[in-house]
């Protein structure tokens, strides 16, 4: 049991100073100690290289432990799943370790365990990723396996059928989990069922049943190009040596024309509406409240980061203080902007005890209105320090550093992005926070999804009168009342 759920923080590396301590002075406990100046942020140097076939390398040396992390970021993910075939990117990634080169599925698994390495494949909206975590003593063998998986997947039919059956059972089991139902229904209602962002990344029963092995092979052939990819390398490596090694393994990876894609417009937002999804007997009501947010390229990235941290991005944020620490309605409340190539959702969320569903809704609405007022200077200052001074702790391990560089690769952020992070946050003013709050959080135009025990919560929710109420099923579709 842990005191709190985890909040996603921002990110770095600094220089050490401690204030002088008088040896025998009695400690005055009545106020917090005066601290010396925080260590200066200086991130580890980043080297970049590019192979003739267009594969980009981002390399960071970190020699603390004999370990290295590799993340290959391929700039295509679930957003470009073929129409009606949600889940293709996800299944393609899953199939990479089911047969590659001369290796069978079982041989790949055997080698991974024998080498004691971490090897994972996955996809999100914008990217497919293959990551490798390896002791340096095993690096050569690990990279040979990694290269097979990336360059020579074989997509065996029998393995595909096994994985597909497995996925269909996953989809059945999701019906047991109110939090997942809430996430999927929220996306579907917000974006509609034809927009890619309205579909689950793992697909639906219908889409998984319609996918054939050729769909995955085609996805691989259309998107897995050297010039659509960046390999992030962090750890106990020498940049020149590792570049030569990667060039010898990935130099023959083919280039290709990376198709441009244009997302359909998301549906226009209407007036605030409450969507109630019945989960009989649920002990808690799952809240997902928000609207369509911003793409990662937004000019308001830093202002939004600060504003959201105040609203629901840290333990002392307003939503968590209110719903948890003042009222005890929940174990944790939060908010966040999911920024993608196109505008992903802004979502405020919590699991609220069923008996306080109406009170929880009232408090959510209070905070979503209040954030549009001027934020007190002290609160802004605390939030900026949290984001700025917390940066180094997020650059401690090779895995953390590699992970922090994924958005740099994917969204073409400047290499000095993190070095400028502190200044970028510092520049945000009370007026900036208020402007983005008013621009991006509109209490009159919210989608409010509540998954809970309809019998016991409906009348209370209606009485709050946050907006008209619509009863929906697990997929977000209307049900006859």
């Amino acid at each position: 049991m842990s005191r709190r759920p985890l909040y996603l923080g921002a990110m770095a590396v600094l220089v050490f100073q401690t204030p002088a301590v008088a040896q025998n002075a009695p400690i005055d406990r009545s106020h917090s100690p005066v601290l010396g100046p925080p260590p200066k942020v200086s991130l580890p140097p980043i080297a970049t290289r590019q192979l003739p076939n267009g594969l980009k390398l981002i390399i960071v040396e970190q020699h603390e432990l004999p370990l290295a992390d590799f993340i290959l970021v391929i700039g295509s993910g679930g957003t470009v799943d073929p129409t009606g075939k949600a889940g293709v990117a996800n299944l393609t990634a899953a199939m990479l370790t089911e047969g590659a080169g001369k290796r069978s599925s079982l041989e790949i698994a055997d080698q991974q365990a024998f080498l004691g390495i971490g090897l994972n494949t996955g996809s999100n909206w914008d990217a497919s990723t293959i990551s490798l975590h390896t002791p340096t003593a095993q690096m050569d063998s690990a990279l040979a396996l990694f290269a097979d998986i990336v360059l020579r997947p074989t997509f065996p039919m029998a393995e595909f059928e096994r994985i597909r059956k497995n996925r269909l059972t996953d989809l059945i089991q999701i019906k047991d989990r109110p939090t997942v139902i809430a996430n999927q229904a929220y996306a579907s209602i917000l974006y509609g069922s034809t927009h890619p962002y309205g579909q689950p990344l793992i697909g639906t029963e219908a889409s998984i049943n319609s996918i054939v092995s050729t769909d995955l092979v085609n996805f691989y052939k259309t998107h897995f190009f050297a010039n659509n990819s960046t390999l992030i390398i962090v750890g106990d490596v020498n940049p020149d040596q590792i570049e030569r090694k990667i060039a010898s393994m990935f130099g023959s990876w083919q280039q290709g024309a990376v198709a441009e894609y244009h997302l359909a417009d998301a549906p226009k937002a209407g007036g605030t509406t409450v969507y109630l999804i019945d989960k009989p007997g649920a002990a808690q009501s799952s809240f997902r409240i928000g609207s369509i947010g911003v793409p990662r390229s937004t000019k308001d990235y830093f202002a939004l980061t600060v504003m959201n941290t105040i609203l629901g991005g840290s333990f002392t944020s307003r939503l968590n203080q209110n719903l948890r620490e003042t009222h005890g309605y929940t174990y944790g409340a939060r908010s966040g902007f999911d920024m993608r190539r196109a505008a992903g959702p802004f979502t405020a969320s919590a699991e609220v005890v069923a008996a306080k569903t109406d009170s929880g809704l009232i408090e959510f609405m209070k905070e979503l209105n209040a954030i549009r007022d001027t934020v007190p200077a002290v609160e802004l200052q605390k939030t900026k320090r949290y984001l700025q001074l917390g940066l180094p702790a997020d650059f401690e391990t090779t895995q953390q550093i590699a992970g922090a560089l994924v958005p740099v690769a994917l969204y073409n952020l400047p290499l000095d992005y993190y070095n400028n992070y502190v200044q970028s946050i510092e520049a945000i003013t009370q007026a900036d926070v208020q402007r983005v709050a008013r621009e991006y959080i509109n209490p009159a135009s919210l989608v409010i999804v509540i998954v809970g025990d309809r019998k016991s919560i409906e009348s209370g929710v209606r009485a709050v009168n946050a907006g008209p109420l619509s009863i929906r099923d697990f997929t977000g579709q209307p049900v006859s009342q």
Partner: protein, 445 residues
């Protein structure tokens, strides 16, 4: 960082974690580990009390108390703890197990005095400002934690049912850490005061600090902040628990809001660091870790009758148990899966595993030890953990060595010694589907 001696074939060595340990006159143990690679410091405090020290009727109290430790102390008004830490760029959390309660802050190195001020105030001065509304507030939060992690989660209530059946009534591990709703409701302000006075004294705590600090000035700071906190009374004698032996198999059924049933097999085994503990860990991996593991390959990969299967040796300070859980695919019967599991376990008893199976598991364990050392918070927690549970902070290489020494014969022996004995089998079934329950004769449709 200094490297230790390489162990095993072709593996990576597990480095030592260098440390200094000393004890203040009031009994507080201090462990220091310098690591200047990132300008941050982890302050990790273990109180040697957990849910295993609770009284019947007050289950969940140690964890509720952990929450209460964040509700302010004499010089730190409620709310200041988190606000000051966030304003300094720090993060914090706490956690409770059967055996211990842990608190930590990770801060930029300049903010180390802040973390010591906050931690020492709640160690020395928690009660003057404690009142019932604070207890009530965190009681509500913890009840919601229980709803979110147990009651509203498929199969979430299985653990407490298993523990109650596996351990005799009154055994410190016979209830879950989160506790029951009724017991959480019953906790009083007096309970909080008594618990604090009994267990939250410097002589029942260890402070581990890892990261970027100057050892001379940190010792001064520790003495100034913690040195004047009075030693507490002698701790109550720990419950002396006999080894758990079940007389016969127990078969249980629980209905839940689930689409698919799931069976949990549980055998009493041995406690953490007991001679057979590592071999049982290896056995669990041989059974279900990776596609080539025995049960995964048979049930999930080859026959495709199960969606998932997992095995683990769950060992703590006083006792341990071995658990296998399996979820059939839709339309597949637990009864036929049960027969296959029995066969596979018999095969492990009858003949040794292959050298390749052992090598895969040992190599994976060796890497996992290296991975655990990558952050200062992890290192501080490891030092505290070994200090309490193994008797010395300096134990990571010995711990890793346990797995290197496991032989094929050991795995065969522990399979026979523990997994052929009486067990507790719980089947969680969809509501109204009790006929899916596993029984002594297999049963289960």
């Amino acid at each position: 960082m200094a490297l230790g001696v390489p162990v095993g074939s072709g593996g990576q060595s597990v480095p030592k974690i260098k440390y200094e340990k000393y004890t203040l006159p009031n009994g507080l143990e201090v462990i220091l580990h310098e690591d200047h690679s990132t300008p941050i410091v982890a302050v990790n405090t273990w109180y040697h009390v957990g849910s295993g020290d609770e009284k019947l009727g007050r289950t969940g109290f140690a964890h509720l108390f952990e929450h209460i430790m964040f509700m302010g102390s004499e010089h730190v008004p409620v709310g200041v703890f988190d606000k000051e830490l966030e304003a300094a760029g720090g993060d914090n959390n706490g956690s409770t197990t059967e055996d211990r309660t842990e608190y930590h802050e990770v801060v930029p190195s300049n903010a180390l005095p802040l973390a010591l001020w906050l931690d020492s105030d709640r160690m020395g001065f928690l009660l003057p400002t404690m009142d019932l509304p604070k207890v009530d507030l965190q009681r509500d939060v913890v009840k919601n934690e229980r709803r979110q992690s147990v009651d509203n989660v498929p199969y979430g209530r299985s653990e407490e049912v298993i523990l109650a059946a596996l351990y005799p009534k009154g055994h410190p591990y016979s209830w879950s850490v989160i506790g029951s709703m009724a017991d959480l409701s019953a906790a009083s302000l007096d309970d909080v005061k008594n618990f604090f006075r009994t267990y939250y004294a410097p002589n029942n705590a260890t402070l581990a600090i890892a990261g970027d600090f100057d050892p001379a000035s940190v010792k001064t700071l520790i003495r100034q902040y913690f040195g004047d906190i009075p030693r507490g009374p002698t701790l109550p004698a720990r419950p002396n628990v006999p080894v758990v032996e079940l007389a016969k198999d127990t078969f249980l059924v629980m209905e839940d809001k689930v689409q698919l049933p799931r069976a949990f097999y549980n055998w009493p085994t041995v406690k953490l660091f007991a001679p057979d503990d590592a071999a049982l860990d290896v056995l669990a991996s041989v059974l279900t870790s990776g596609k080539n593991s025995r049960l995964y390959k048979k049930l999930v990969y080859d026959m495709q009758v199960a969606q998932n299967v997992r095995a683990s040796q769950q060992s703590s300070r006083l006792a341990g148990y071995f658990q296998i859980d399996v979820t059939p695919k839709p339309g597949q019967s637990l009864g036929s899966i049960d027969a296959i599991i029995r066969q596979e376990l018999q095969r492990l008893v009858a003949e040794p595993i292959t050298t390749r199976e052992l090598a895969r598991v040992q190599n994976s364990f060796r890497s996992s030890f290296l991975n655990r050392m990558s952050s200062v918070q992890n290192k501080a927690d490891i030092l505290n953990s070994y200090n309490y549970l193994a008797g010395t902070p300096d134990y990571i290489q010995q711990d890793a060595g346990r797995y290197d020494r496991v032989t094929r014969a050991d795995v065969q022996r522990v399979a026979g010694a523990y997994l052929t004995k009486p067990k507790v089998v719980l089947t969680v079934v969809p509501e109204g589907k009790r006929e899916m329950m596993l029984t002594a004769t297999g049963g289960a449709k």
